[in-house]
Amino acid sequence: MKRQTMFLKMITASLLRRRSRMLVALLAIAVGATILSGLVTIYYDVPRQMGEQFRNYGANMIFTPSGSDKLSTDAINKAKGLIDSNELVGTAPYRYENITVYERPLMAAATDFEGAEKTCPYWRIDGEWPSKNGEALVGKETAETLDLRAGDTVTLVYDLEGQTTAAKPSEKAERNQNSLEFKVTGILDTGGNEEKYIFVSIADMESLTGKSDIFDMTELSVSASQERLSDYAEKISSEVDGLSARLVKRVTQSENTVLSKLQALVLLVTIIVLLLTMICVATTMMAVVTERRKEVGLRKALGASNRSIIFEFMGEGLLLGAIGGLLGSIFGFIFAQAVSINVFNSSIQFHWILIPITILVSVLVTGISCVLPVRSATDVDPALVLKGE
């Protein structure tokens, strides 16, 4: 039999045949590794999870014309193409025009309602989102002024010559105006300026005004870190002519602040858990060494060198660390999944790389924890076994 085989036989026999004592140490390592692996998983998944949560607070990037011109669909698409499609949650272009309703001057906004639903998930609608042309969403303030409710119809009048002030009925016929009738599908409640507008589809606005492919701005919701968003904005502004990209700082900065604080908290807890695991493992190993002083004395009396004693105890500790790390990486994922589902309401992905990393960290932590107990084992006097203690 090879020496290595005997070495493995001794350390596995020690772990398997002294189950109750070793289970305590294994439990300490496995619990530590579980929390460690779980927290690391959460640490790396938090930006994605929180990013999704923050997208509920609206767009975090805006495209505006860099000169006096309006934005074109081509420019918007080119700019969008520079953003990773996996990170792009939604895009909503906007075009604002002065219109009149019952001779009252108002502001109409054209947008892509599907995109707006994604960039403005906080919009509260009494009724439904418009789903086809000929339907409109009316801001709460305007709806109150015009006494409009969901299901009513409203006619938007656009002055093709650019007259925005209310005209007398006698003059109306003489002026070059275009009008379209819309069905109000919902009343928009945001608590902001949007309540003053009447929202229609882009196609309807083009029919009403006779002008196409012009936009005043585009709102984007991008799930990325502040640093990455800044990089995108810089790249888009420099690469797309006539378009300037900038961040909605109140959203991106608060997102960044919350994220960094949350990550710092997770990191702190991870470090504390590691320290507690080390203390727990060191205490258990110290108890194991104390309990086996007579055995250490015997081994030394039989001719074991200090190096052999260190190898054997370290071997046991590291094997425990590896088993604990393996268990921890499995239970850690379950723990992280439970936290993610309960806190963020979404599941996380399993990262295979975390298994070897958790095992390695667990082995390292156990190794460091074993240093002092194992050193104390080498101090045992072999004469102990002759004293009949």
Partner: protein, 224 residues
């Protein structure tokens, strides 16, 4: 040349002299018994002969080497290569089987060899109990495993500390028979004992009192 020569050895702990100018020679293949009351210095003597302690004064020449002058590392090597230890409390590793306990001694000495370890157990009549854990063995059986472990590396000296102290009469006789067999095979035996019956079967007995060798008895009726 004598296998072991102890010259004017003293071991001093503060004001206490555990050994006081002891002189002793043990020849190759000799069977020596050391007797004495508690506190007479028997354990200290065992520790020094077993290379687990060094004398404060004097020389201990084991197989031509003065172990009093050697480093701890060297003493470990000498203990591993030249000495087989048998204990009153058996001191088997409780999570290893009988044969694995024997192989532990091989592991520290050279190379574990299960076949050889089984043969050693066979010599002490325990081949059928080789795969049992110490907790599944009687006291006598445990002591025989301890003897097999002490002999596995063919030591120059077998040092036995009260080897029958925890055994009943039947098992005591078995152990004495094994010692007789070892002596016939030329093994040098040093046995520390309280039991006059165990001392009587030795070739020579020395008596320690207050750290001094006070008596030496040659067994005229010694059976070779």
């Amino acid at each position: 040349m004598s296998l072991l020569k102890i010259k004017n050895v003293s071991k001093i702990y503060g004001p206490l002299k555990a050994l006081d100018g002891v002189n002793l020679t043990v020849e190759n293949g000799e069977w020596l018994a050391i007797m004495g009351p508690s506190g007479s210095g028997k354990s200290t003597m065992m520790n020094i002969i077993g290379c687990m302690d060094k004398p404060s004064l004097g020389e201990v020449i084991l197989d031509g080497v003065d172990i009093a002058k050697e480093s701890d590392k060297k003493l470990t090597e000498i203990r591993r290569d030249k000495i087989g230890l048998i204990f009153q409390q058996f001191h088997l590793i409780n999570y290893l089987t009988a044969v694995e306990n024997v192989m532990v001694s091989q592991y520290y000495h050279s190379m574990p060899d299960e076949k050889e370890a089984m043969e050693a157990l066979e010599r002490v009549g325990l081949a059928d109990r080789a795969k049992h854990l110490p907790s599944q063995l009687s006291g006598g059986e445990q002591q025989r495993v301890c003897i097999a472990r002490a002999l596995i590396n063919h030591p120059e000296i077998v040092l036995a500390d009260e080897p029958t102290g925890n055994l009943d009469e039947a098992n005591e006789n078995i152990v004495i028979d094994i010692f007789k067999q070892l002596h016939r095979q030329g093994t040098t035996l040093i046995v520390v004992t309280h039991d006059p019956e165990v001392a009587e079967v030795a070739q020579r007995t020395v008596v320690l009192e207050h750290g001094r060798l006070v008596k030496e008895i040659i067994n005229e009726n010694f059976e070779e």
